[in-house]
C-alpha cells in the first residue's frame, strides 16, 4: 500500500513570506496531483505532474516533481491570506484503477 507523507503538518506564516511544503511517497508516483481544500469546501485540483524533474508554475505557486518521481514540493512566493487552506498531495495510479491516494495534508495559515 502506497503511503504519502506530507510535511510540515501545520504551517503558520505572515503575509508576504515564502514557503515550501513537501510530499514524499513510499513508492513511485504514477501521476502526482496537488489539491487545495479551503474550510468547508472540498479539495480543488491545482496541478497534475507526471514526468520526473517536471516543474509547473501557477501564478505564485511552483510545483516541482523529483527526478525519481517519489517526491514533490510546492513553493509559494509572497503568500497571501487567500492562500490559507489545506494542501493535499495525491497519486492517481492506473494500477489502482485511477482512484486517488491522498496524503494527510499541510494546513497553511497566512496571517495578514
Amino acid at each position: 500500500t502506497q503511503l504519502l507523507e506530507q510535511s510540515p503538518q501545520f504551517l503558520s506564516i505572515q503575509e508576504g513570506e515564502n514557503l515550501t511544503v513537501y510530499c514524499n511517497s513510499s513508492s513511485v508516483f504514477s501521476s502526482l496531483q496537488w489539491y487545495r481544500q479551503e474550510p468547508g469546501e472540498g479539495p480543488v485540483l491545482l496541478v497534475t505532474v507526471v514526468t520526473g524533474g517536471e516543474v509547473k508554475k501557477l501564478k505564485r505557486l511552483t510545483f516541482q516533481f523529483g527526478d525519481a518521481r517519489k517526491d514533490s514540493s510546492l513553493h509559494i512566493t509572497a503568500a497571501q491570506p487567500g492562500d490559507t487552506g489545506l494542501y493535499l498531495c495525491a497519486d492517481r495510479s492506473r494500477g489502482s484503477n485511477y482512484k486517488l491516494t491522498f496524503g494527510k495534508g499541510t494546513l497553511l495559515t497566512v496571517n495578514p
Partner: protein
C-alpha cells in the same frame, strides 16, 4: 453550471441509527466517487460508479455501507447501523471521463454519538 452538491452538510446521529447521504454530480458526469476522511487520517477512497454501475467498491469498509446510483444520476450512501468509527467527512466527486479531473463536493460531515 452547478458543481457537485451534497446533502446534508452535517448529520449528528446516535450509534445504531441509520443515515443516508446524497450526492448530485455535475450534470453529464458519468463517473461518481465517494471518499471519506476520518479524524486524523487521510482522505480515502470508498467507491466509484460509472453511470449506474459500481466500477470499484474496494474501499467500502464493511457491509454496513450501501451505495446506490439511481438511473446514473444522483447517488446515495447509506450507513446502517452507524458505529462511532463511521464519524468523519464524506466527500462525493464526479468526473466527465474515467481519467478526467475530479470535482469534489463540499462534503457531508457525519457525527455518530
Amino acid at each position: 453550471e452547478a458543481g457537485v452538491t451534497q446533502f446534508p452538510s452535517h448529520s449528528v446521529i446516535e450509534k445504531g441509527q441509520t443515515v443516508t447521504l446524497r450526492c448530485d454530480p455535475i450534470s453529464g458526469h458519468d463517473n461518481l466517487y465517494w471518499y471519506r476522511r476520518v479524524m486524523g487520517k487521510e482522505i480515502k477512497f470508498l467507491l466509484h460508479f460509472v453511470k449506474e454501475s459500481k466500477q470499484d467498491e474496494s474501499g467500502m469498509p464493511n457491509n454496513r455501507f450501501l451505495a446506490e446510483r439511481t438511473g446514473g444520476t444522483y447517488s446515495t450512501l447509506k450507513v446502517q447501523p452507524a458505529e462511532l468509527e463511521d464519524s468523519g467527512v464524506y466527500f462525493c466527486a464526479s468526473s466527465q471521463t474515467f481519467f478526467g479531473e475530479l470535482f469534489f463536493g463540499e462534503g457531508s460531515r457525519l457525527t455518530v454519538l
